[in-house]
């Protein structure tokens, strides 16, 4: 899980270079991640982890933080 979190953190840093990922509590609520950046992130996640994200999983809760994104990936890997 820690390894997944680290990879997610790196992805976010690449997609959102101007955002302080470590000090942003809610990436969606703060506006750092919107519908377009979420798609970029999903694309990166799917390439990196070879999983498939469905529209049902595109929720603010799932993309709110590094932890929640990592948890989503963990869930998809278990399917």
């Amino acid at each position: 899980m820690d390894e997944i979190k680290e990879q997610v953190h790196d992805m976010l840093q690449e997609i959102l270079p101007d955002v302080d990922i470590d000090n942003t509590d809610d990436l969606v609520g703060s506006g750092a991640i919107d519908s377009m950046t979420s798609i970029m992130l999903v694309s990166a996640i799917e390439d990196e982890f070879e999983v498939r994200v469905s529209p049902l999983e595109m929720t603010p809760d799932n993309f709110a933080s590094v932890d929640s994104i990592a948890a989503l990936i963990e869930c998809l890997l278990d399917e």
Binding site: I15, D18, D34, S35, I39, S43, D47, P55, L56
Partner: protein, 531 residues
């Protein structure tokens, strides 16, 4: 507002709504939803008569699709007496998923098909005639639209897709689906409802008392002020300039476009406030549809604050599915391998953005200008994305804070200007008219009507303008308070009943005194009711 339109509004507020509330209050809690269903169908019948068959058809398709998706999901049972293997589970899911997708697709196509035929049939027919230079009379004349078809169809399609995605279980109760689609406050101009948020409230049978009742009434009064004091007063001037647009240029065209923007905001948000207030009386909270849109610093942000339920619907049911489609995934993988920098971000989103903005445009109506309206925002968003690295470099080099007061102010003014141009396109009778109007802005100053005080020739007196501007200032003040998270009603509550009553009576008096209704005022139907 014409006598007919005023009678309609007076009938709604003076008779229909009080009767619904009284019946809702009297009837036992578990049957209150039937009062709402009866009232909704009565409301629909009053407006659309026999066209109620389309609403009934949409209801049956929606309800049936949900049940069939559920049946498809459970169509293959797990093996009995032993644990299902991973491969068996995968295979079972693949087959049931395929069946569910088929039902969802058919249900969605039927619902959208009804909308497309009724709303776009004669337009599509016209395009074919134009393309093939046909001279024949084709069967589809301009068909009368059932009330709210654009709104309830989207709610219906959202429900079917949500059941398919497994967001919630299918609803077995036909009455609940019927009420969800026909709920009378939302029929005219939305907001577009989500089943899991609205249906439980519709069935709960809660009733507003005390503070919630007052809140509902306050919202209704506020909505009325926006509609009949602000929007309906500006409408004649806007109509005059847009109708005879070849006579005007320069600042007059800009004023007309800006006033139309104010008119549309006041009209649309006003009617939605009346809808939300009406719902609150029955203990139902509808989704918010506006969040101080003119404080936006980009057009992207504007569309997250304007007609929010439409934007949310398009995001969930168009943007995400297209973005996550095979074609977009392939494009995204290709972009990450072959492109650099900003292009990697932009290219994968082109298809989804094009789909969303095209849908935004044509949802509003069957005309090329509406498609152009949607594509206008697509172009703005794409340009914004392409220029993003330049903006980033500019702010880095100059040291100006991007979210500082100066830049935020500039960004807001820029966004308002872009929105006003879009509204000019939206209001113009045709695309060609918009092009002519846009060019005329630069043709000359166009200040003669202002200098010579020709407002009266527009059937707009100084008093009309002043009242509309005072109303607009009041609306702006309320929006400023909300933007800074100042909740006005609790604020009033804290300062005692006397002040609250005084403000309430003042607002009602303002509405009754300065509302544009009665003899001498022309018909101003609610703008978004046409969609």
């Amino acid at each position: 507002m014409s006598l007919t339109a005023w009678k309609g509004l007076a009938l709604y507020l003076g008779a229909f709504l009080p009767l619904v509330y009284i019946a809702y209050f009297i009837v036992p809690k578990r049957w209150r939803w039937i009062v709402l269903l009866g009232a909704s169908y009565a409301f629909f019948w009053n407006s659309s008569k026999i066209l109620v068959v389309y609403l009934i058809a949409a209801t049956l398709v929606t309800w049936g699709s949900g049940l069939l998706i559920e049946r498809a999901k459970n169509s293959i049972q797990k093996p009995e007496g032993r644990k299902e293997t991973r491969d068996e589970r995968k295979q079972r899911r693949a087959i049931t998923q395929k069946r569910m997708r088929l039902v969802c697709t058919i249900g969605t196509l039927i619902l959208l098909g009804i909308l497309v035929v009724l709303k776009y049939g004669s337009f599509i027919q016209g395009v074919f005639i134009e393309l093939f230079k046909a001279d024949a009379k084709l069967p589809l004349a301009k068909i009368a639209l059932p009330l709210g078809i654009s709104f309830y169809t989207m709610s219906a399609v959202g429900y079917v897709i949500d059941v398919y995605r497994g967001k919630y279980a299918a609803c077995h109760n036909l009455g609940t689906i019927a009420l969800f689609l026909s709920f009378f406050p939302t029929l005219t101009e939305g907001p577009i409802g989500r089943f899991d948020e609205l249906a439980p409230q519709l069935r709960a049978g809660e009733i507003a008392r005390g503070e919630r009742l007052v809140y509902g009434l306050q919202l209704i009064v506020w909505g009325m002020i926006k509609k009949i004091v602000i929007a309906d007063r500006i409408a004649p001037l806007v109509g005059m300039i847009f109708t005879d647009h070849t006579k005007y240029e320069g600042v007059m065209v800009i004023i007309a476009a800006a006033l139309y923007t104010l008119q549309l905001y006041a009209d649309f948000s006003g009617v939605v406030d009346i809808a939300r207030g009406s719902s609150e009386l029955c203990g139902i909270t509808l989704a918010q549809n506006f969040r101080q849109p003119f404080f936006s610093k980009s057009v992207n942000e504007f569309w997250r604050r304007w007609h929010m339920t439409l934007g949310g619907w398009l995001r969930d049911y168009v943007f995400y599915p297209v973005s996550l489609s095979g074609a977009t995934r392939s494009l995204s993988t290709w972009a990450r391998k072959h492109l650099k920098g900003n292009a990697v971000r932009i290219v994968p989103t082109i298809l989804a953005l094009l789909a969303v903005w095209s849908a935004t445009g044509i949802w509003h109506g069957a005309d090329w200008k509406y498609l152009a309206y949607g594509l206008y925002y697509f172009a703005l968003v794409m340009v914004g994305m392409l220029l993003e690295p330049l903006f980033v470099a500019f702010f880095e080099r100059t040291g100006i804070k991007r979210d500082g007061l100066l830049n935020s102010g500039i960004a807001m003014v820029r966004t308002i200007a872009l929105v006003i141009i879009g509204m000019m396109l939206f209001r113009a009778d045709t695309l060609a008219d918009f092009v002519q109007m846009f060019k005329s802005i630069f043709a000359g100053p166009g200040t003669e009507p202002l200098v010579n005080n020709l407002w009266l020739s527009f059937r707009v007196s100084d008093a009309d303008l002043n009242i509309a501007l005072i109303g607009g200032a009041l609306m702006l003040a309320v929006d400023i308070a909300h933007e800074f998270d100042i909740a006005l009603r609790p604020l009033l509550l804290r300062h005692g009943t006397a002040l609250r009553w005084a403000v309430g009576i003042a607002l009602v008096a303002f509405m009754l005194t300065f509302g544009a209704y009665g003899p001498g005022y022309d018909a101003i139907p609610s703008i978004y009711a046409n969609f």
